[in-house]
Every structure is written in structure tokens, then in C-alpha cells.
Symmetry: C2
Subunit: 456 residues, 2 copies
């Protein structure tokens, strides 16, 4: 009894000492990253040196070699490539959308457009048809008899009153993903969508569409918000014809790779904590925030943990996924291999909401796991993590959840300006801030350390 009593007395001190030890370790890790971090220079290499790198492209193959070589400089225990088949969609040339007549009077006014990823092209001769301007799917249903032979413009905007912009993206995104097939169902010949952004400029934003395979596939492209508003007003007041020329098509599936780095676990080598971002990007920009920043954060966290001499209990995996944007094959492959190898995965984290100032993490896990993560808030708060919420994850780590029931977490940066540049030509290196990028790595490294030390 007395022994127990003493132990109980001692426990708060033990806990306090541990907390202090953790706090010192995380400060050390933070200093290493903020002082010696290479993520920003690596991002310059990836974005300026290689640029856009859609899965299957020669640029993506270069990025794989760059990722492997760069990971090797961290002097972790192992770097390897995990092969997977990836889709190979190509844009095939310049996308063109031109207003050709207004109330039967010929004009020629070009709009700035980008074909949606995975879409079919019009062929080199293009197609010309009358535009029907709609706000949303309800209007499509109401006017379904007017759709046949026309180009449907969906001008559904972001809701500016949502404080979390990914909520707007999810909602308006329904038109990019499902709009073409919904319009094809009523005989539309092509679809133009309003770009998924609240940006005040007119840059179009691409991104994958998803055809309903039971319906005819029709060409589709995104317009910048200014052009979308312009065309909407024009086509609401007048009879407007538009000519669309896009050349997107699929080449045969080809070989791609996840790039994987490891720091071997000293106690539980077959138990894994995974952190990653995706190496592929759209073809029309540098893929800086999407997801160059996630990529270089993964390598940076690996580098920093090695640099401070950390010996993890569990094996830490840093993964540059092969094909987030238009297929998800990299994430699927990683989870399938993990299952085949009987790996036990404790947690997977993804950084794919931009390399902005950290605000926290969002978990898809049991309530107990989330509660445990929340006990670490005081340790990470000095570095920016304010919340450990629920509902998050990432497209590349989702399959781990599905196949292995692995708890997953998304890194949540302050992404108020993410959709200004997301999938647009403006997602370039210059729009990434070095401190914000490194601070993200600090918080992720801190969480990985805590999960490794205390489990989840």
C-alpha cells in the first residue's frame, strides 16, 4: 500500500518530467528545422527545375529520381521506389474557348480556359454550339428539355460566408466532378464550369472530372471566375454560341512510382507511422502548394529527425505518392503492399492542403485516439497547432484506412488563400513562404515524435 501511495505521489512528477523532456526535444527539432531546414531550397528544385509533373509524364519520372536522390541526402536508413501503374492523361495542346456569336452576330472573343483533367477532347476541329447558362443542378433538372445539343455553363460559385474554404471547394466541386455527365444525360455536347476559387483574378483552375461510364463522355473545361460571370450574363440575356477546342486524351497506363524513405524502428520495426504528400501535380503549373510543399515537408521531417539523432521505436515512413491528382493509384498501391506484407500501421499523416502556417491536424480515428492526440496540444501549441479536430485525412492515405483500418490525420494549415492558386497557373514557387513551409514541418515532426513515443 505504501509503495502504491509513493508511486501515486511520484506520478505527477514523472509526467511533468516527461512533458518537459518532450518539450525540450520538440524545441530542438524546431530549431533544427527553422535554422537548417532545406525544404524551401528543395521546393525550388522541384518546382523550377522540374515543374508540372502529372502522373505518367516525363516530368513525373524526373521527379521520382529527384525525390529518391534528395531523400538519400537525409541519411535515413533506406530509400526505395514502389512501382505502380498510373494513368497517363495528356492535355494535347492549348485549350481554346471562343465566343463566336451573340444573337447570331459573329464575334470572336477568347475566354481563358483549361480542359478538366481526364476529360476527352473535342478534336482539332473543335465544336461550336449554343450556350445554356445555369447556376446549379436544380436549374439543370428544371430546364432538362433545353439541354440537347448545347454547351452547358455551370456557374456555381464558392460560398463566401463559409469560414473553412475547403467546405466551399467540396460543395462547388460537385460541378467539376459530376457536371459533365449530368449534362450529358440530357444531351449536352460540352460543359464549361466556373473555376473552383474565390480568387479575384481570371485564371482558370483545372482538376479531375469523373465521367459516369454509363453516359456519353463530353468535353469539358473550366473558365476563370470573371469569364464565367461574363459568359453567364451574356448567355442569360442573349443567344450565345461558343467554340471549344480541347485535345485531352489518355495514353496507355504506364509505370509510376511511390518514393519511400524509412527510419527503422528500434523496438517495433514492423509497426509503421507514415507521413507523406503527393509527388504528381497538374501539368499547367509548378505544383508548388499542391503538393510540392507536402513532398518537401516529408523529406524535411525525415532529414530533421535523422539530424537530431532520433532513434524511433516504430519504423517511420516518408512517402511521396505517385498519383493523387487523377487516379489515386499511388495511395492504393501503398496500402495494398502494406496489407500484403502484414504491416501494422499506427498512424498515417498527409500534408496536401498547402504549405501555409500550421493550425492543427484533423483525425479520422477513434474518439479515444483523438482524445489522446489532444493531450499533446500544449506541446505543439507554441509552434502553431491550435486544434486537433476530427474528420480529416488525405486522398493518398485513405486506402490505409479502408484496407487496414489505420487511423489517419490531415495536416491543417491556414488555407484561406489555397484556392486562389490551387490547380491554376499561379501555383508556383513564388507563392510559398519559407517560414510557413518550415513551421508546417515542425508541427508534423512533433506529432510524429509524440505518436512514436506514446502510441496512439
Amino acid at each position: 500500500m505504501r509503495k502504491y501511495f509513493l508511486l501515486l505521489l511520484a506520478m505527477p512528477f514523472i509526467a511533468a518530467a516527461q512533458t518537459n523532456q518532450d518539450s525540450v526535444f520538440i524545441k530542438n527539432l524546431s530549431d533544427e528545422i527553422m535554422r537548417n531546414g532545406k525544404a524551401y531550397d528543395w521546393l525550388r528544385e522541384l518546382t523550377k527545375g522540374i515543374g508540372g509533373r502529372l502522373a505518367g509524364s516525363p516530368q513525373f519520372a524526373k521527379a521520382v529520381q529527384w525525390g529518391k536522390k534528395t531523400m538519400e541526402t537525409t541519411k535515413g536508413d533506406k530509400v526505395f521506389l514502389q512501382e505502380c501503374m498510373v494513368p497517363h492523361w495528356v492535355r494535347g495542346g492549348k485549350d481554346k474557348v471562343v465566343i463566336t456569336s451573340v444573337d447570331n452576330k459573329a464575334i470572336s472573343k477568347a475566354l481563358d480556359a483549361l480542359a478538366l483533367g481526364n476529360s476527352i477532347g473535342t478534336g482539332l476541329k473543335g465544336l461550336t454550339a449554343e450556350v445554356i447558362a445555369l447556376n446549379n443542378f436544380d436549374e439543370l433538372e428544371k430546364r432538362k428539355d433545353e439541354i440537347k445539343g448545347k454547351i452547358v455553363l455551370f456557374n456555381y460559385p464558392f460560398n463566401p460566408t463559409y469560414i473553412v474554404p475547403s467546405r466551399s471547394y467540396g460543395e462547388a466541386g460537385a460541378y467539376r466532378r459530376g457536371g459533365p455527365s449530368k449534362a450529358a444525360k440530357y444531351g449536352a455536347v460540352a460543359v464549361l464550369t466556373r473555376s473552383l476559387t474565390e480568387a479575384t483574378d481570371n485564371n482558370p483552375h483545372t482538376g479531375a472530372t469523373a465521367y459516369d461510364t454509363t453516359l456519353p463522355k463530353i468535353p469539358c473545361a473550366a473558365l476563370g471566375t470573371q469569364d464565367a460571370d461574363y459568359l453567364y450574363k451574356l448567355a442569360t440575356a442573349s443567344k450565345v454560341k461558343v467554340s471549344i477546342t480541347t485535345n485531352g486524351h489518355f495514353l496507355p497506363d504506364t509505370i509510376g512510382h511511390n518514393v519511400i524513405g524509412e527510419i527503422k524502428g528500434t523496438e517495433f520495426p514492423n509497426q509503421y507511422i507514415t507521413f507523406g504528400g503527393h509527388l504528381d501535380s497538374w501539368d499547367i503549373n509548378e505544383g508548388a502548394h499542391d503538393d510540392g510543399t507536402g513532398v518537401v515537408q516529408a523529406i524535411e521531417v525525415m532529414r530533421a529527425l535523422v539530424a537530431v539523432g532520433y532513434k524511433p521505436k516504430h519504423t517511420l515512413r516518408f512517402v511521396l505518392f505517385a498519383n493523387e491528382e487523377n487516379g489515386g493509384r499511388g495511395g492504393n498501391k501503398y496500402a495494398e503492399a502494406a496489407k500484403a506484407n502484414n504491416e501494422e500501421h499506427i498512424l498515417a499523416i498527409e500534408s496536401d492542403e498547402g504549405g501555409f502556417t500550421p493550425r492543427g491536424f484533423s483525425f479520422t480515428s477513434s474518439p479515444e485516439q483523438l482524445q489522446k492526440a489532444n493531450t499533446w496540444l500544449p506541446l505543439l501549441k507554441p509552434y502553431g497547432t491550435e486544434t486537433m479536430g476530427s474528420g480529416g485525412g488525405g486522398a493518398d492515405i485513405g486506402p490505409l484506412k479502408t484496407l487496414l483500418k489505420t487511423p489517419i490525420a490531415g495536416f491543417v494549415p491556414d488555407n484561406q488563400r489555397y484556392f486562389d492558386i490551387h490547380h491554376a497557373r499561379t501555383d508556383v514557387f513564388e507563392n510559398v513562404n519559407k517560414r510557413e513551409l518550415l513551421l508546417g514541418a515542425v508541427n508534423i515532426a512533433g506529432l510524429i515524435y509524440l505518436v512514436d513515443k506514446y502510441g496512439l
Copy 2:
């Protein structure tokens, strides 16, 4: 007794109902600002239409007229100008810093420089002298016998490991403020300082210096970080001569104005809640984040409160202060007038850390007042306010604290990228994000509403 008991039972419901009412009101305010906010368009007018507006300049006088006219569009109860004398420093031409010889070999390499605000000039002929490169004041003391007749370069950097960048600014800022006089004490003829930034570009950052009036005033200018490092290395290894030409000087003090808008209090009209930013900016940029964003947030909050039909208990004041950058006369005048008029001030808030995503507020108040503010966190958290800390305020509202013991609070945005552009040519409209700017206004409006309703 029974009555009391029932009252006690009812209290949580009353409190919950109030909280719910507050939450609905703040959501309404947020929707008004995010949907109809004019702050971003106003900022374009101020930055692109008027531009740099140092106190005393013709541009500042234009900004006063613009501020008054714009505030009047909000249909608040009253807009007026409060006259105050302001200093009138002018740069007087292009600042030049040129390396003229290395180890007595003539060269001509221009460095990008900006004279520090309030500094004296070299005269049109410039001055040329040998450079002594120092890291900090300790080195100055150790080498005080070598200073005479030389140009001192202080190359003290931001500490990258500080998570809060204003800590770096405060620390390194000692060299901009006090460096020239400390060097003059030992006979230096001029001072060059490393710009107060961690930016990866080479833009010099100006800002006010403060001469010790008991010592000779010497010319001083800031170099971009790349040039500062370059000159430091060069002058450490070789005998380097530099020629400096700056033309800064004071014209006689002139008339300036605070621009003040009011929404009259319905219950306590002589009790005030003040919110503001400063209308003046440096001459070499557009003063977008510093402090155009604070200015347009003040007008926006006024507009939104009127637009939703709010009738405050206390009088709400929205103030565009006249002279933060190089004198503080606007803030002094406002506090002196408040004292002279026996006004009672409940709280003053300032937004002068950039128009970035809100993270919270920082109070200089009693612990009880801070505690009370913290009870409102759940109401503001959905809009971004994560912390109500202590120690903050603002240069323009400081005098209210001093003269009237008014509690003050600084709006705290996510300012990781603030010092990239602060006082540099790059502080322009394009570097402000519309959503981030408006979200700041939402959180400030929410706090003002809560303080008005519940006191502090």
C-alpha cells in the same frame, strides 16, 4: 429561497440563450462582411489610387480626404477630422550605396539601399569611407577604437528559431533604432543596417531610426539581407570603401489629421470603444499591410455594424491615425483630446500587424479583463480567434493606456510573412488576400460587439 433556487436553475438556460443569441448575431455580422465587405476594394483605392503616404506628404492629405469620404459611405452617425501637428520628413531623392574600392582597388558596385526614416542625409555629394563590419553591439564595444571615421555595418540577423516573428523584429530592431547613435558615439560617419526581415529577396526595408540628441546625427540606411551578407563578408576579408548618398531631411512640422467615425452609444454615449489602424505609411511602397489593411478593416467594421442595424450601448469610434510610422502624433492627439473631454474609454483595439488570417487578440489589461475576454473564445473561435493573450496593444492606442489607463488590445493575425514585405517596396496591394483581410474584420467586429454588450 425557493425563488432563488428557481433563479439558479434558470441561469444556465439564460446564459445559453444569450450565448446562442450572440452566436447568431456574430454569424450574421460575419456573413455581412464576407458577402458584402468593401474592405478589399477600398484597399485598392487607397494603395493604387493614393499609394505611399508618409505624414506631412501631399499623399497623406489625399488619404485623409479619402478616409473621410469613405467613412461617410458607411452611414454611421458622424465622421470628423481631428487636427494634429505632424513631422514632415522627406527622402529627398534616390538613396545610393556604392562599393567604391576593395583593398584600394577601385570598383563600382551598387547595393540596394533605403535611408532610414527620420535620418539626416549625406548631402548631394555623398560621403565615402571605409566600412567596419560588425555583427552586434558587443562587437561595437570591443572594437570601439576602430570606429572613428568609418561607416559601421550592423549585420544583426533575425533569429529564425523564434516562432513569433515580431520577437525577431523587436530584437534586431534595436540596430535600426539605436545603431546610428551608438556608432556615432565612437566617431562613425555613417551606419548601414541589415534590413529587419527574413525575406529571401534583397529588398531593403526602411523604418524610423531614433537619434540620441546628445550625440552627432549621422546618415544611415538599410541594405537588403543579401547585400548585407555580401558586404559583411567582403569587409571582413578586405579593406572596403563605400560611398553613401542620401538626402533625407525634415521640413517644418505641418498639419495632419486623425479621421474619426462614430456610431453613437444608446445607453452610455460618453463611454467609448475605439478601433483603428494608421493611415500614414512609408513613402517607398503602397502601405498595404502596413497599415492599409488596418485602415480598411476599421471602416469595414463600422460599415458592417451599421449595415446589420446594430445599435451599440457605448459609442463606437473608428479611427484612422495620422502618424504612426515616424512620430506617433496622431495617437497622442487622440488620447490627449479624450482626456481633455473627460471621455471614458472601455477598450481600444488596433490592427497594425498586417491583414492576414486572424489568430486572436493580445491584451494589455487587468487579469480579470483578460479572463473575461477569454470567456468569449468559443464565440469567436469559428472565425479564427484561437487565443486571447496578454502583452499586446498598438503604437496608436498606447497613449490611451498611459493617459487614461484604458485597457488596450492588439489584433493578432498570422504574421509569419509580414516581415517579408514590412517597410519594403513589396508592401503592395497584390500581397493582400481578400478573405484573410475580411476575416480579420469579422473577428474584430465580433470582439467589439461582445465588449459593447457585456463590458470588459
